[in-house]
Symmetry: C2
Subunit: 189 residues, 2 copies
DNA sequence: CTTGCGCGAGAACCATCGTTCTCGTAGGGT
DNA sequence: ACCCTACGAGAACGATGGTTCTCGCGCAAG
């Protein structure tokens, strides 16, 4: 039999693939069972309800996504300003993944946020955490704090535009805009 | 008995309120029946399936939203540049509506886009049409075309950020960023 | 007045899904 | 060899939802 932690991982891997690709409501527990190979009984012992599983999925994805961003930016050597712009290069590689379907948090929020305060909360927290990462990079580059919010909007806009238009190009557009905003804020400050 | 067109309107009004507020999958045909006062039989004669109703809802909202934007911008007198920035003032008033829940197209796309090419298509078209409006304003102000895409990203980002964070502030942030981008593009060109 | 058509109200039907239950069995301790 | 526990496979159950059907009624034509 599987270790508990291994089973948890398998379930979350399966749930992540299915929920992200097809949407949460479109995926039944049976599909998670089949994709993970973990029996329903066990699944319900690990996550007492679908809501719990959905929350766990979002929480893990939250951590993973921020880690991936930080991991990418950390490999960039260059000026602190380059590292700010690297956020948009990371976006480009993300958008280029063949199964890219936008931001799991925005999608889940639109689907469930109205009925589930827990989902709304996780989405809010994820966006706040993301914004904080950007703010850290902006601060490290000695740029004004107000820039962080502006760049975050560009990131958010690129994420949804890339999803709907099915091209990674918005990452480039956002990068150009970011560069321009940085330039302005340097001369203005 | 109701005129066919009146019934259509009532159904779409009901569907719009419910779908936008709670999400499409969370709203049954019964809820649309109750909210509209149009019998199920008639409802199915007007829209042969729920999918058809959803499409009609999105199409009408597409037209309405663009009309509202254009209507607002047209009341602004000032320089062509002011009219570009007026887009963000319009966003602010939209975000301030008490029942604001983000962009119906992004929400529907996240919920149904994977399973319904029709919904994905309507969302894509809406975003393209919106971008075109922005591009018209940018062109009228004699600004470079590349700015239109950048401003559209700001709009998109503000829409989702306002929804998740539940404040209209992102409209202001986006406006500031837009102003900066306009300034840069004037000196660069 | 009568006949029959078209309507609305709501029951009915069938599929799906979240969740729980049954059952057969594998495997470890004695 | 014999239990006893714990498990997985899948049936079962109850709710919900999309779609269709039944029934009774109002009303227009004859």
């Amino acid at each position: 039999m599987l270790e508990e932690e291994t089973a948890r991982e398998r379930v979350l891997d399966a749930a992540e693939g299915l929920y992200y690709q097809r949407g949460v409501q479109a995926v039944g527990m049976d599909a998670v069972r089949n994709a993970s190979g973990v029996s329903l009984k066990r699944l319900y012992r690990l996550y007492p309800s679908k809501g719990d599983l959905v929350e766990a999925y979002l929480r893990r994805r939250d951590a993973q996504l921020l880690q991936r961003l930080v991991g990418y930016v950390d490999t960039v050597d260059g000026t602190p300003q380059d590292r700010v712009l690297a956020v948009f290069d990371w976006l480009y590689s993300w958008f280029s993944e063949s199964d890219y379907r936008g931001c799991a948090f925005i999608n889940s929020y639109g689907e469930l946020g109205a009925a589930s305060p827990a989902v709304a909360e996780v989405a809010r927290k994820h966006k706040a955490a993301f914004r904080r990462r950007v703010a850290d990079l902006v601060a490290a580059a000695g740029l004004p704090a107000s820039l962080a919010d502006q760049l975050s909007l560009l990131v958010e806009g690129a994420i949804t535009t890339a999803a709907i238009s099915r091209t990674p190009e918005p990452a480039r557009t956002a990068r150009d805009a970011a560069q321009a905003l940085i330039k302005v804020s340097r001369t203005a400050a």
